[in-house]
Symmetry: C2
């Protein structure tokens, strides 16, 4: 009898990255933000996978999206790998995966302003001994990137083989290329945009209004109390969730199906499956996320404009020294293929090396979390080339 052979493909969610230890780095001195305010005592929560090579040039920084955190792959200490939900991009990070932890030193940190370990509005303000709340200064994508640069300094990473991110993480990856051109060999800008358009800003604005007008928001100073602006945050999340899916995927997943039976309730209850699903997503989100961080993340995305002070996007990109993989997803109506193509066109105007692919998918913006195979096939070879190039450049600078 032939033995059944289990063949795992390199994009399965397997938690094969192993147990990942959450770590925290305390930054020395003060951090000056784009908005001119300063933060003291900043702490950065991060996780690493794989080992840094002798050149300090095999590092891949993974940047998370709005609701992500430092736990990108594998399990946490004490979790049962058979039952625990692995990190948020486990499909991409692990031995033999697209971001191959056998070859790369993978770093992922919670962003500045976050609520999963890195200093954010829920952290204690050293000046007052109380949570910042509304006193937390607005942070930008560039501020997040500067904190990541300080973290990589501390970890001995001289040169990033690549910075990889989807959605808001992709904004960070693009910002890295402009802000630290000599430290980034390659950029994977996945389901992202050089800047949001009016519609995306509008959805963010409504979500923020739902939080700001929740009576439990209490002007942002709710950390000491028993209640939080869960209602507003859930509504904001529900709006966001609709924009992350495509009409097609919602139609396929829910259609007009009712939760129970075939008859309408004739009451204001969640009765269509899609309503129940959204309400569930909203309710789960408030258990793990902070409303102030939601305000800060959406505002940071709204503010992000890769063009910066330059006259054109291409002008802003003239100094980049990275190669780029830009991917978009056909049904993503929030971070559209048209926006990705504008980025690609600007990169080509400055003679940057660019790979571009629009991946066919019905999953909308969420596709970057749900389409492992197509992303594997693009990202794995791109990172293989990036590693060769990164090592070559590191050797030029510091011959052993």
């Amino acid at each position: 009898m032939a033995a059944t052979q289990t063949c795992r493909r390199p994009w399965e969610e397997t938690a094969s990255a192993g147990v990942s230890e959450p770590r925290t780095l305390a930054l020395d001195g003060a951090l000056t933000l784009a908005g001119k305010r300063t933060l003291r005592g900043v702490e950065v929560a991060y996780e690493t996978y794989g080992r840094l090579d002798e050149w300090g040039a095999n590092a891949v920084l993974v940047c998370h999206a709005l609701s992500g955190d430092a736990h990108v792959a594998g399990t946490r200490p004490g979790e049962d790998p058979e039952t625990a939900r692995p990190g948020w991009w486990d499909i991409m990070v692990g031995p033999g995966k697209a971001i191959d932890t056998d070859r790369f030193f993978v770093v992922c940190s919670n962003v500045l302003g976050g609520c999963s370990g890195t200093t954010g509005p829920g952290s204690v303000d050293p000046d007052t001994g109380r949570p910042y709340g509304p006193a937390f200064p607005l942070v930008t994508i560039e501020d997040m990137v500067d904190v990541q640069a300080r973290l990589l300094d501390a970890l001995g990473v001289k040169r990033l083989a690549a910075v990889v991110g989807g959605s808001m993480g992709g904004m960070q990856a693009l910002s890295w290329a402009v802000r630290y051109p000599d430290r980034v060999t390659a950029v994977v800008a996945d389901a992202t945009t050089p800047r949001l358009g009016a519609q995306a800003i509008a959805f963010h604005a409504v979500g923020r209004q739902a939080i700001l007008e929740d009576p439990h928001y209490a002007n942002g100073d709710y950390y000491g109390g028993d209640v939080r602006p869960d209602s507003g945050l859930a509504i904001a999340r529900m709006i966001g969730h609709i924009t992350y899916l495509s009409d097609e995927s919602m139609h396929t997943k829910f259609g007009r199906r009712l939760r129970e039976g075939d008859d309408y309730a004739y009451e204001f209850v969640s009765e269509f499956e899609v309503e129940t699903y959204l309400a569930y997503q909203g309710a789960r989100f408030v258990e793990r996320f902070d409303a102030n961080t939601y305000l800060h993340m959406t505002k940071a995305m709204d503010y992000f404009d890769l063009r910066g002070e330059a006259a054109t996007l291409a002008d802003a990109l003239r100094g980049v020294r990275s190669r780029f993989l830009v991917t978009s997803f056909s049904s993503d109506w929030l971070f559209t293929t048209a926006q990705a193509k504008q980025l690609v066109a600007a990169l080509r105007m400055v003679d940057a090396e660019v790979w571009f692919s629009e991946i066919e998918s019905a999953y909308g913006h969420d596709a970057f979390l749900l389409e492992p195979e197509a992303q594997y096939e693009l990202i794995a070879p791109f990172l293989t080339e990036a590693l060769v190039e990164s090592t070559r450049r590191a050797r030029e600078v510091t011959p052993l």
Copy 2:
């Protein structure tokens, strides 16, 4: 010297329909709703334009959308026609316009469940002497249509030359064709759908949640108090508003422009123009609209399924005796061309006469309120034919 001649085109907003007197009809007896509940003492607010002909067959019923009312064109008594904002579809209704009040007897009534004169959740419940509030039963598109039928009976309208509506008004128009096939010569189904998909239901669900969770909603029983769920209603309206526009029109209208200057505020304030615009739209809406009506209207739309109990949409349409003009707008992503085409295909399967046109427009769903010329060119000739046919059929039934 040649005199300058002012030439008005037949789709300009001119208030040429004149002064329209708001009227109210009290229905006799009780109204049994689709949800099996009954309403007593129903009043219908309506306006008429033009004169009913001797055959009672030149009437056009105009059905309004979510936020509309009976005041479709012209001015109200006491208003200055030079300065007053005319009715909501003045571009379409008036002498020489697409719905020509020189030839048609035009009727528009506020829908059942509304907040502009027709019995709705803010009306006094004759059983208690207090506003219905949460006791108001859920109404359906079919219930709205049944009330319109009673109104037309009272007005002596034997046969509708046409029923015309956009968005939720188009749902009513379609329902008329199925529910009263012998009373409707022609149907204009404008920017509408035989049923909403999951995405549209999802947006409605989030808007309702914003209202239901507003502390001032008070379980719907807020009419006696000083406060109303304005915050929740404004958020619901803002969500709706985004869905009524297209990404392209928002980009053209607002882009990423800031309200003041070029520098970010680094505060949680409305600073992008699109934010200010939406906040303004939300704030204005709560001055004229009732949150309970918003709940009822969105739920009625969610429930609407022209297919009804039939196996297929075509099966549901087998009994129709009307001709149809179906229009969609290229950038409308809420009531899509694909949905309109499904309707057209089903109508053709049952050999109904159908004119179909997708109108090129950047205005999104709102285009049916903003594209007068293209609609004029379709609706005017369609209604001319409808009038001939309606008169012919009326004469067959009741020769003079």
